[in-house]
């Protein structure tokens, strides 16, 4: 998180923190484990009322934000959610709301935005990987699979990338479109749900978001927003795990001394602190770069994904080690954090995929 926030941002962050502490403790995460949706729609709607789904949408369409860029505000919520592992489709709903608000038709605005903004509806972002599309008069015939789509089975709307005449195009489908088959998946995180979506459907021109063949930059921007929010969430989780561990090492004794007084452990915590700060630094830089539309946004986002993913899992695993046996129990919350950061590491691009993008930029050649 930025070390200095504006007054409004500070107020937003603390309201969010209070709300999450009251409504989304980790006991709530455990209680949702066997719920198909993986989140509580009533709590989600309350979060939406606080601004959790409207910050990337312009005021004229019912949204609005506190600072110059809504993304700078939204990362504060993402980080707070990471600290408590709050359940809910923050990334997909915000990415789709932003896309529809900025590229959708008036009809799409009216049909989709109110539900996303008040939290009564959910959208899934099916990512940059395209399905095939052929033209049939005015209509498009879509076929293909979108794999591991976050909140795919909970969504009312699906934002799908398709290649029309080899050009990237986005279509917005109601989830109950005939020919759309959603298969919920089991997974590592107790509450974050993913689904595979098989599409074999014909859709009319009203489904297209923006112009046919013109969605390349928008899709890249959506990917950036997804990564920025995810990185903020991961850093929030790391921060909380580090804090818990620091406290634990002070309270627990061996050989008549607190564990925190042993130099071998002190040095581990110092290294973890250094990595935590470095993750904060690059996550903040990525959020700024994307919010401000800097020319180096792609590079900084890639760097954040390369850096944060493995350092997050390493830090949480190290903190588990420092907790001793209790760290590998179901009872302790640490595994909930480990699940989340492990999942985040590998969604919206693995560190290796993002590293490859950096290498392409550095070397000017492909592998």
């Amino acid at each position: 998180m930025e070390l200095q926030l504006s007054e409004e941002q500070d107020a937003f962050a603390s309201t969010t923190r209070r709300f999450l502490a009251a409504e989304c403790p980790t006991t709530a995460v455990r209680a949702l484990e066997h719920e198909a949706a993986g989140f509580d729609r009533a709590v989600w709607a309350q979060g939406a009322a606080l601004g959790g789904t409207s910050l990337l949408v312009p005021e004229s369409l019912g949204g609005g934000c506190f600072s110059e860029h809504g993304l700078s505000d939204l990362v504060l919520a993402a980080e707070e959610m990471g600290r408590v592992l709050a359940a809910g489709p923050l990334v997909p709903v915000n990415v789709v709301a932003e896309a529809i608000a900025h590229h959708g038709s008036e009809e799409q605005h009216q049909r989709v935005l109110p539900g996303l903004l008040d939290g009564s509806a959910v959208a899934a972002w099916c990512g940059p990987a395209p399905v095939r599309a052929t033209r049939d008069g005015e209509s498009l015939v879509l076929s293909g699979r979108c794999s591991t789509v976050e909140a795919g089975a909970q969504a009312d709307h699906l934002l799908v990338t398709a290649l029309v005449d080899d050009q990237p195009t986005q279509v917005l489908l109601p989830a109950d479109t005939p020919g759309v088959l959603v298969t919920p998946l089991d997974g590592l995180d107790l509450v974050r749900r993913f689904a595979d979506i098989d599409i074999s459907a014909t859709v009319g021109p009203e489904a297209v978001v923006g112009a046919v063949g013109d969605a390349g930059p928008a899709i890249e921007h959506q990917g950036h927003i997804a990564c920025v929010l995810q990185c903020a969430e991961t850093v929030g989780a790391m921060d909380r795990v580090f804090e818990m561990t620091l406290e634990y090492l002070g309270d627990r004794y061996s050989f008549g001394r607190p564990l925190s007084s042993y130099q071998a452990l002190k040095h581990r915590m110092a290294d973890d602190k250094m990595h935590l700060e470095s993750c904060h630094a690059i996550a903040t830089a990525a959020a700024r770069a994307v919010a401000q539309g800097s020319p180096d946004a792609d590079e900084v986002v890639n760097a954040a994904k390369v850096w944060i993913g493995p350092h997050a899992t390493e830090l949480v695993q190290d903190c588990i080690q420092l907790h001793g046996g209790i760290g590998v129990t179901w009872e302790h919350d640490l595994h909930l954090y480990l699940r989340r950061v492990t999942v985040n590491r590998a969604t919206y691009g693995t560190p290796e995929e993002h590293a490859e993008r950096i290498a392409r930029h550095l070397t000017g050649v492909t592998a």
């Binding site: 200095q4 090492l249 002070g250 290294d271 903040t284 830089a285 070397t363 592998a367």
Partner: protein
């Protein structure tokens, strides 16, 4: 106190940047080979480069106006640094002279000391070094054994300092010495300004692994220092030394407001050509594994730059306490270690042997790896930075110490402390 952000009474940052760009282009030579040399010729060259900055009105951007500086903010300094990357700059003057010693003088010097010493530094006429470490130990800095005995208006120094980089070619030092043996170790130290080339000071050069002779050891034999050259209070040298170390961690980490232009290749831009060149030389830029390594090296530079920015801004605004400087010092050092490892992996067998006098990029990476731990030792070792982060930044128990609250003359010392 230095302003982090430009205030209304200052020249707007973008105007300053434009002026700096024009000046640099017209005046400074382009960055070529040899900027990283540790030779005497190079050092003289850097004095000249600093003089060019002074003549052009761009020396000491964040130094107070009354002592020859420009009195501008850190934003101005960063703008200047960013503009300066294509040019040859007085890199080694930045650390330690400007970023550490001049910075400490700004903080603790008397008005007279600042008037007397700062303009000469900014003109490039005087190089300064630190006389802190001793043969008996560097980590336990407050345990130093060099003694200073008062005799009227002068102090007489006796003892020895070591590992002082380039002292033989420098002009002044800040020297920490013990003035009181009857109090616990932190309370009996005093910091002095010492003219290096004067009667009673013998400087010997020490050969380093890369063959250079930059390291020095000094022997003091009744060296006389006027009492007017005490920095801070007598017996309160630890306060001065502690702040000096904070400046050092910032400067070595790349976050000092007192430097002009990049120091040690830290420019925050994240470009790194050497490792990429090695991959190109080896013909492996399409190898998927090499590509992952290239990306990691580059990302490390980028993250390092962002971390420096975060920590220096946080320290300046008070959001982070001074010991946070150890975070960037440690990060910088571990980055060097890992990037050196990446360099060796990419250079492969190229580090083993080369045609006479042509080590190539691979040979250079191999040779550089020999002294890579220097960065993890100089300015306080990684282990000491970790102690500081844990104890002062995270505020948890201090290490057990056998010398606390004991008059220093009664403290046990190791075998090499004769």
């Amino acid at each position: 106190m230095i302003e982090t952000r430009a205030t209304d009474d200052m020249e707007p940052v973008e105007d300053f940047r434009a002026r700096a760009r024009a000046f640099l282009e017209a005046t400074m030579p382009p960055l070529g080979d040899g900027w990283n040399d540790r030779s005497d010729e190079r050092r003289d060259r850097e004095r000249e480069l600093q003089a060019l900055l002074w003549q052009g009105g761009f020396a000491g951007i964040c130094f107070p106006k009354e002592y020859g500086g420009l009195g501008l903010s850190q934003e101005h300094q960063r703008a200047f640094t960013a503009e300066s990357t294509p040019y040859d700059m007085p890199f080694s003057l930045n650390v330690p002279t400007l970023g550490i010693l001049a910075a400490t003088l700004v903080e603790f010097g008397t008005h007279d000391q600042k008037l007397r010493y700062l303009p000469g530094i900014l003109r490039g006429e005087e190089l300064w070094v630190q006389f802190l470490s001793e043969p008996s130990g560097g980590s336990d800095l407050a345990g130093c054994l060099t003694r200073a005995d008062r005799d009227g208006d002068v102090f007489m120094l006796n003892g020895s300092k070591i590992w002082s980089s380039a002292a033989y070619a420098s002009d002044y030092a800040m020297c920490l010495a013990r003035t009181n043996w009857d109090v616990p170790k932190h309370r009996g130290l005093t910091m002095f300004i010492m003219k290096i080339h004067q009667p009673g000071v013998t400087v010997e050069q020490i050969r380093q692994v890369d063959g250079t002779l930059e390291f020095c050891q000094e022997f003091f034999d009744d060296v006389q220092i006027p009492a007017s050259d005490v920095v801070g209070e007598i017996d309160d040298g630890w306060t001065v030394a502690s702040r000096l170390l904070v400046h050092e961690r910032l400067a070595v980490g790349g976050g000092s407001p007192y430097t002009s232009g990049a120091s040690f290749g830290h420019d925050g831009s994240g470009t790194d050509t050497t490792i990429l060149d090695a991959a190109q030389e080896a013909g492996t830029t399409r190898d998927p594994h090499v590509r992952q390594l290239l990306a990691e090296a580059h990302v490390r530079q980028m993250v390092g730059g962002q971390l420096v920015k975060r920590v220096t801004e946080g320290m300046a605004s008070g959001a982070l306490p001074p010991p946070a400087g150890s975070v960037i010092k440690l990060f910088g050092a571990t980055n060097v270690m890992r990037r050196s490892e990446i360099g060796l992996e990419i250079a492969g067998a190229g580090v083993v042997a080369w045609p006479a006098d042509s080590p190539g990029v691979a040979g250079d990476l191999g040779r550089a790896s020999l002294s890579r731990q220097g960065v993890s030792l100089g300015g306080g070792s990684n282990e000491i930075q970790r102690n500081i982060i844990r104890e002062r930044l995270l505020g948890r128990p201090r290490e057990a110490a056998a010398d606390r609250d004991i008059p220093y003359r009664d403290v046990r010392r190791g075998g090499s402390a004769s």
